[in-house]
Each structure stands twice: as structure tokens, then as C-alpha cells.
Symmetry: C2
Subunit: 150 residues, 2 copies
DNA sequence: TATTGTTATACTCTATAACTATA
DNA sequence: TATAGTTATAGAGTATAACAATA
């Protein structure tokens, strides 16, 4: 009990989420470093799986600045995971597409993300897990964070 | 549906947590900036409410490096929120204590953290909220992240 | 020699602003 | 003029390593 009403910042979901987020990101980082990927690449690869998009579209969907997307795509291009090609229609636009290698990397990220879930949810019973997953998705969608809709 | 099995990285709890964490941290940052605090100060103030500790103890409990704690305490000292005093018994040690101002700031952080929870959990029904809060706490404790035990 | 606290330094991640080339 | 992309730069935030004082 931290204050007179028994409430503590560390007991809030907001605080715990702000601790859990970096923990999950570190798990990602450790497991994808061997193929040259970093955590921020994961969401980008995922979005590209839906098809080619312009870089500014990607920036908006990811909630980051355009310059960050440029930098991430430079790195992914060096890894051979994406290919950029100027649009013939509007030469300002760069079409961005996953290569076969990129699709393979995206698949690896999916597998890794669910391995991390196993560790995170290890202390919950099956029914609690399903409730937690559903609630987390509802929260992410409610706040407009990037998450899959299905 | 992102791949052949309908799984996507963005659908994992790990990914969603890694998005939600920074969101929560940004909420903290916006609401405590007016009094000169930053998100990383919140957990530190909280822990000091339990009583004086050595700086290395605090670093370990927070999961950060000693140099980070020094820096944070410098800032909190400038705000008049904490006081450092060399131990008479072991002059290597700095006792760190909350001032009245520091206790007041810690109370504000508690209030703010639960305001953020209101926003985060707005889309959940009361029973779902309680389940989510309990699960989040179980996860944070299971992973050894800083969180209140009560 | 080991430990507490401190400083100096470097690295990661992101944002802002200025620039280019197209439209 | 406005837009897509790019580059340059700066700001948080953190970690590592070397250091001083003390044990």
C-alpha cells in the first residue's frame, strides 16, 4: 500500500503497459537480430504483406514520421527484403513491395511474435489468455494503434 | 488475414503491447510535463514512497543502469522532490528520501495514472476491466517487471 | 580489492526542418 | 504551389566504461 487510499502508480494498467511494451520489444530485438532485423521493421514488413503502398501511406499507418520510413526501407532494401520502384504514372511515388526474402522474414516475425506471447501469457489459464487477448485487441483498436483487424 | 494460417505479427499480444507501452508513456509525458516530470521519474518517485534506499538498490529495482538513476535523481533534486544525504555509517552511500513536495508529486502521478487507465479501458465492460487488470498484474509480476504487489 | 556513486561518451530511436524532383 | 520522398540535424533515452571516494 503506497498511499492512504492504497493506490500506487505502479498498480495502474498504464504504468504496467509502459513497462511491458519495452520488455516485449526487447524480446523481439533479441530474436530477430540474427537476420539483421530490428523491432521497428516488424510492423512495416507486416503492412507490406497487404500489398504495395506509398511510403507516406506507410508512415501514417505506422504512426511515425516519413523520414523514419525512408530509413527503415533503406535497411530492408539492403537486406533484400523489399524492392522500391518509381511509379510510371506519378514519378514522385515509390512503389514498395516485399520480395520473396521479405515474405520469408515476415513469416519468421509472425512465428517469433507468438513465441513471445507464450512466455508472456505463461502464467494465465487458457480462459484468461483468451480474455486477455481479446481485451488487448479491443484496447489497441479503440486507441487507433496498428493491429490486425481479424 | 495476413498469411496462409491467418496469423499476423500485429495480432500478437507481444506486438500490441509494444505499441501500447509507448502510447501510455506518451500520455504520462503530456500530463506530467507541466510540473517538470518525465515518465521515467514516475516509477522512481513511487519506489521512494516506500522509504529511503541506496541508489544502486533503486537502479536494480527499476531495471536500469546506475548512471540513469544518478541523472534522474539530479533532476528530481532540482525540482525539490528528493533529498540526498550521505550515510554516516557508510560514507559511500547516499540516502535518498522524498520531500513533502516529492510526496505531493507522487500523489499527482497516481491520480494521472488512473486517469490514463480510464481512457485505455474505456471500451471494456466492467467485468472485462477487472479481468484485464488482474491479468496484466499477473503478467507483470510473472516477468519480474516493477509493479505493486497488493 | 570490492563497492557506491559519478562523469564522460556513444548509441538507438524518433522528430523537425530544409531540400529535390516531380506534379 | 503542393506533394512524395530524401537528407541533415537535433533531441530524448539508455548503456558502457572509466573514475573518485570509501570500505
Amino acid at each position: 500500500m503506497a498511499n492512504k487510499r492504497g493506490l500506487a502508480t505502479t498498480g495502474s494498467v498504464a504504468f504496467q503497459a509502459s513497462q511491458l511494451g519495452p520488455w516485449a520489444a526487447r524480446q523481439f530485438a533479441e530474436r530477430i537480430a540474427s537476420v539483421g532485423l530490428r523491432p521497428r521493421h516488424v510492423a512495416l514488413l507486416e503492412m507490406l504483406r497487404g500489398g504495395a503502398r506509398s511510403q507516406l501511406d506507410l508512415a501514417k499507418a505506422l504512426g511515425v514520421t516519413a523520414s523514419v520510413v525512408v530509413d527503415m526501407l533503406d535497411e530492408l532494401e539492403r537486406l533484400g527484403a523489399v524492392a522500391r520502384a518509381r511509379s510510371a504514372v506519378d514519378r514522385r511515388r515509390q512503389g514498395v513491395e516485399l520480395t520473396a526474402r521479405g515474405r520469408s522474414l515476415a513469416d519468421s516475425c509472425v512465428a517469433i511474435s507468438y513465441q513471445i506471447d507464450e512466455v508472456m501469457l505463461a502464467h494465465l489459464r487458457p480462459a484468461e489468455r483468451r480474455q486477455f487477448q481479446a481485451a488487448m485487441r479491443a484496447i489497441a483498436q479503440g486507441l487507433g494503434l496498428p493491429c490486425s483487424e481479424s
